[in-house]
């Protein structure tokens, strides 16, 4: 019991989120009769306060104190969790603000959506911290169930429902496969604790049998990060879901999926080999598995994105491609890879959410998600076009923008690890990606609009949102040093146990 009480002090962000969840549910109950606007504002305010509180506390907790297991070694409060917590909080805050400006969510009661958002934020943190097979599965399912509900939130909208059904069926199958893999892993090692798993695997060689188990488990994690071939749900769900939810899914669960991936493979399936490097245990070559996943994911994402005409689908495939890039860093088998992924995600958050913010704002006037409807946007709103340009160039990884930094980290790590061929494939993919990002920009700037073009009216909120998202992208290179500071704490990953 004292362990639980002690753990609570390191559990502050999650506690704040759960408190906000309770307040939102109760407040939603008591504002049912009030006009939609005032009750929505109140609920948004409560959720925002909760998320900001979680952000502040998780920022303070970052790098403070020794790495330490929590709740009878269910969670590890170490650098990895420390780095990911603010990423999740920031994502949710931006998504909440996007939700306030989304046309799709206008006129809909948002109580449940905010409750789901708060829950899923906390669940992402649990995912990132879990060092026990039970926790990995449970937190992953909590994120999944909340996401299914968020995707299907517009229950009278056909697309939203279909997306949600596809999502839950694919999700249940892949997490079912993962569960079966976890159960076999539990049988092989006789323990549910990730450190215990590593110790047991280090003693005996399991070979190809273990590899099959890892493929099953990778299905569950791959589903969360939308890695090919577990990505089938992704384009449909991204298209059908309300756009703020799409924005959330493209960052939050993906980041948490990578946290679990790192924890599971770097902590449970490998042992420290000195100098920040790790060596696989148990005789299963999972590095090869991850490399194959990375190559397939990148290539498939980028090639499919070329063919898209719907901007939400395009961003869906682009997010698959980015997942592939990050998977490349996961093949590095040293702390460098972890740093690269953490840095990539921190930057990806701003550039991808930025692109979605532009999509949501544009949808307010065009009412469409087709790329063609962006024709002549330059004349309608130069500001939005410039913003979109910055986000897209950043996603491409063009030098002055932060995306370049992200790519730099990944490629540096990959090349240092002697995986030159992987880096070459990555660069080729980045070149392909430039095509479809530029295509969007070309439509916005060069193509002539047809029909009337109402001008965009920005609210103060919109401007603030754009500034918050643009600044980190533009000034990305200034973060060079500070990102090092952020990512160096992720080195504590391997210290525990």
């Amino acid at each position: 019991m004292s362990d639980a009480v002690q753990s609570l002090s390191r559990f502050l962000p999650e506690l704040i989120l759960m408190g906000a969840l309770a307040v939102v549910i109760v407040a939603d109950l008591f504002t049912q009769r009030r006009p939609l606007k005032s009750s929505t504002d109140l609920l948004n305010g409560i959720a925002l306060v909760g998320l900001l509180g979680a952000l502040v506390t998780s920022w303070q907790a970052l790098g403070a104190g020794e790495a330490q297991p929590l709740f009878a070694s269910m969670l590890a409060d170490d650098g990895l969790l420390g780095v990911f917590r603010p990423i999740f909080c920031l994502t949710s805050i931006v998504v909440l603000l996007l939700g306030m400006r989304s046309k799709e969510l206008e006129g809909v009661r948002l109580g449940e959506m905010l409750a789901l958002l708060l829950t899923v934020t906390a669940a992402l943190m649990w995912m990132a911290g879990s060092v026990n097979l039970v926790m990995i599965y449970l937190s992953l399912e909590t994120v999944s169930v909340a996401s299914y509900l968020m995707v299907g939130y517009l229950s009278s909208d056909r697309l939203s429902n279909e997306a949600s059904l596809k999502y839950i069926l694919f999700g249940a199958v892949s997490t079912g496969a993962m569960l079966f893999g976890l159960s076999l892993l539990y049988g092989m090692t006789g323990t549910l604790d990730l450190y215990g798993v590593r110790a047991a695997l280090a003693e005996g060689a399991f070979g190809p049998g273990l590899l099959f188990v890892l493929i099953l488990i990778a299905a569950g994690i791959g589903f969360k990060i939308a890695a090919a071939p577990f990505h089938f749900w992704c384009p449909d769900v991204y298209t059908g879901a309300p756009t703020p939810v799409t924005a959330f899914l493209s960052v939050g669960p993906k980041a948490a999926g990578f946290a679990v991936l790192i924890r599971f493979f770097y902590l449970g399936m490998a042992e420290p080999a000195g100098g920040g490097a790790i060596a696989p245990v148990g005789g299963a070559d999972w590095q090869m598995l991850l490399m194959m996943l990375a190559v397939i994911t990148m290539t498939l994402g980028n090639v499919a994105a070329l063919l898209q005409t719907n901007v939400k689908r395009l961003l869906a495939y682009s997010s698959i491609a980015h997942a592939g890039t990050m998977l490349m860093a996961a093949c590095v088998l040293s702390v460098d890879g972890v740093q690269a992924i953490a840095a990539y995600l921190a930057i990806y958050l701003f550039m991808n959410l930025g692109a979605f913010a532009v999509v949501i704002l544009a949808h307010r006037v065009t009412g469409s998600f087709e790329i063609d409807s962006y024709a002549g946007f330059w004349k309608r709103s130069p500001l939005l076009t410039v913003a979109m340009g910055i986000f897209l160039f950043s996603l491409m990884g063009i030098p002055p923008f932060a995306g370049f930094l992200a790519k730099w980290y990944v490629f540096a790590a990959v090349i240092n690890a002697g995986l030159g061929w992987l880096a070459v494939i990555g660069v080729l993919n980045a070149a392909v990606a430039a095509f479809y990002y530029v295509k969007v920009l070309r439509v916005m700037v060069i193509d002539q609009e047809t029909g009337p073009t109402p001008a965009l009216a920005f609210s103060r909120l919109d401007l603030a949102l754009l500034v918050v998202l643009v600044v980190p992208n533009v000034l990305g290179l200034l973060f060079w040093g500070s990102l090092d500071r952020v990512t160096e704490v992720s080195q504590t990953l391997l210290e525990l146990g």
């Binding site: 019991m1 639980a4 759960m18 969840l21 549910i25 939609l36 929590l70 709740f71 009878a72 269910m74 969670l75 006129g107 809909v108 009661r109 449940e112 409750a115 789901l116 829950t119 906390a122 669940a123 649990w126 026990n132 039970v134 926790m135 449970l138 937190s139 399912e141 909590t142 169930v145 909340a146 299914y148 509900l149 299907g152 939130y153 517009l154 229950s155 009278s156 909208d157 076999l184 049988g187 092989m188 006789g190 005996g204 399991f206 049998g209 099959f212 188990v213």
Partner: protein
């Protein structure tokens, strides 16, 4: 003598479970499939009893048979026209499906045979409900609490989805 009888019952139940599971996935009548699932769930509960997991067996019957199956049946019955008894559920890609399922099975059998599980029989653990209860508020306190959060949002979300929503135009 007694052990032979118990083994016979075990393999009988195993046959029942696999048979009804097979019916679930190949049967052409959805409602029959759902009821075949009852037998499968029950058989799994019997396995738990054989493994000395008495509490889990009770929970299996209570939640799967009493909860999930009733839900599934409601789902089947409400999402089809009420008089239509021929709830046909056609199959697609039977041959590739069977091939890949067979492949998975072969792989699993191979794994089961090749891995040294280090199996030792810890014996019948005796009544487990108290130990499970202590674990749930001890070592597994956090998963227990997370499960309650999950139940809360699932309840809330499911109700939200099914409720008729008038406000959206």
């Amino acid at each position: 003598m007694e052990s032979m009888a118990s083994a016979a019952i075990f393999y009988g139940v195993a046959a029942l479970v696999l048979g009804s599971a097979l019916y679930v996935v190949v049967g052409r009548n959805l409602v029959h499939s759902a009821f075949a699932l009852v037998a499968a769930f029950f058989g799994v509960a019997v396995f738990y009893v054989y493994l000395g997991a008495d509490f889990l067996a009770g929970a299996q019957v209570l939640i799967y048979v009493g909860g999930i199956l009733t839900l599934l049946l409601f789902g089947v019955m409400l999402t089809n026209r009420i008089y239509n008894l021929n709830l046909r559920s056609g199959a697609i890609q039977v041959v590739p499906g069977a091939l890949s399922a067979g492949l998975v099975f072969a792989l699993l059998v191979w794994i089961i045979q090749s891995v040294d599980w280090g199996a030792m029989d810890a014996g019948d653990p005796g009544p487990t409900s108290e130990s499970i209860g202590r674990l749930l508020v001890g070592d597994y306190l956090l998963p227990f609490e997370i499960a309650s959060v999950l139940l809360l949002i699932a309840l809330m979300g499911a109700a939200m989805l099914v409720r008729r929503r008038g406000s959206r135009s």
